[in-house]
């Protein structure tokens, strides 16, 4: 473990109101007026006002970080409210940055907000990051995470990283340019992302809402420690939290033996395998729209709808008459045993990616009539039966 000097100089001064507001910080000898002035002088960019961004933003705002940048292009959805505690029923449908900004203004009007409603892109990431002292990454996909990592390396900025899935979360601090040559970046931990079909996501696998607070609060704590230079930062350590065991494990991180230096940004969609799903063009995959499937059912045409999602997803919502056969290594053989290779089959999952992988495997096995439901059950709910719940 190591100490780092404070990231931010205490240039700003505190008003009488601020002294009163932050008095519980000012009473801590390690923070004091000097530390609180550093917080007020700090510029922190939070990427994603979602699960991790919500608690991190609330606590950084309450702690008195002077300038908070927020970047997110998404809008608040009802299914966010189980964990994204900065948003409210009254802000469903609004841009997340606007919703978060409203909550922060209510909480602490002394915070200066900088709102970015664009998607983070390689073209602007380094220039954007250069305007901040510290980046906090609360995004939900590998493409953005590698972009954030590489852009932080190029901008020379430290970043606080966290990720969550179901009951488990991880957090760390990455900073290639850290003083004393101890720097590392996310690629030292994981040099490459998993292919999309193996990349877990909370929108398909779920997440305990409170886990966002467990990991988001670690992230906010690390940000405050870096800004004020107190304590031992998580740089060089990975914190692994398990809510069910209620354990925190620490794993030492080191520079990867075969690391390559990062000299420019690249195409992160390609890097994460997103532009070429499973090496096949989308146009090569036989598909059917939700509206076409409805018409086919109404005509009474012979077909079977196979739902390859997990049991929990099926229990939330499913298409009447569909067969539930969850994706597994033996699924293709099970489908063949049950329906043969010539029954007209329509496969679907939540949004179309997982069923596409199954479809390709069936095609390789010589199935003659398999189609993928475009946009999955989400498209069915949106375009055919709006009485069904979405998730």
């Amino acid at each position: 473990m190591m100490k780092l000097p404070p990231l931010v100089e205490p240039t700003a001064t505190l008003s009488k109101e601020e002294v009163v507001r932050y008095s519980r910080h000012l009473l801590i000898p390690d923070v004091g007026v000097d530390g609180q002035r550093r917080l007020k002088s700090a510029r922190v960019l939070v990427i994603g006002a979602g699960g991790l961004g919500s608690p991190a933003l609330l606590y950084l705002a309450a702690a008195g970080v002077g300038t908070l940048g927020i970047i997110d292009f998404d809008v608040v959805d009802e299914s966010n409210l189980q964990r994204q505690v900065i948003h409210k029923v009254s802000t469903v449908g609004q841009l997340k940055v606007e919703s978060a900004a409203a909550a922060i203004r209510e909480l602490n009007p002394h915070v200066n907000l900088e709102l970015h409603t664009d998607r983070l892109e390689p073209e602007m990431a380094v220039q954007l990051f250069a305007q901040y002292d510290l980046i906090l990454d609360g995004t939900d996909n590998f493409a953005t995470r590698y972009l954030v990592n590489d852009a932080c390396v190029l901008a020379g900025k430290p970043y606080v990283w966290g990720s969550i899935f179901r009951f488990e979360g991880q957090a760390s601090v990455f900073w290639e340019d850290a003083p004393g040559g101890v720097g590392l970046n996310y690629r030292d931990l994981y040099p490459e992302p998993p292919p999309p079909e193996l990349a877990p996501s909370c929108s398909e696998g779920g997440v305990l809402g409170i886990l966002c607070a467990s990991i988001g609060s670690i992230m906010a704590t690390e940000a405050v420690k870096l800004i004020t230079g107190i304590g031992e930062p998580l740089l060089g350590r990975l914190m692994v939290y398990d809510a069910l065991d209620m354990t925190y494990r620490q794993i030492a991180l080191r520079r990867a033996p075969d690391r390559k230096s990062i000299t420019e940004l690249s195409d992160y969609q390609v890097f994460c395998g997103l532009n070429r799903p499973l090496g096949v063009q989308d146009s090569d995959i036989p598909s059917i729209s939700a509206v076409e499937l409805k018409a086919l059912r109404e005509r009474g045409a012979h077909h079977e709808v196979i739902d390859v999602r997990e049991r929990t997803e099926w229990d939330i919502v499913h298409i009447d008459g569909a067969r539930h056969m969850p994706k597994s290594p033996s699924l293709a053989r099970e489908i063949e045993a049950r329906f043969g290779k010539d029954t007209p089959l329509i496969l679907h999952c939540k949004s179309g990616l997982r069923s596409k992988a199954v479809l390709l495997e069936l095609q390789r096995l010589g199935f003659s009539d398999v189609r993928n439901l475009e946009g999955g059950i989400l498209a069915w709910v949106r375009d055919v039966d709006t009485t069904l719940p979405s998730y």
């Binding site: 995004t139 969550i164 490459e192 992302p193 998993p194 877990p200 996501s201």
Partner: protein, 92 residues
Amino acid sequence: MPVSVSVSIPTLLRPLTQDQKRIEIEGATVRELIERMDSQYPGIKERLLDGGEMHRFVNVYVNDNDIRFADNLGTALKDGDNVSILPAVAGG
């Protein structure tokens, strides 16, 4: 004497281990361990290995030490070691 270690299975791979979070298994090296796991829980090997090497989005730790800084798959195991598998997760 056979070397028996405890392996902690990440959430993502638990569908392959009948939802077990920890399994006891024998193996003198990490490679042997993975082979034995795969014979007991088919499918787990291809989630960990790409050809003969570890996937670059999965790390294996023996008593919290990353095998990339030891002998990779050849890392020797001792009786009672704790092995953990940690795949990259991006959720947020």
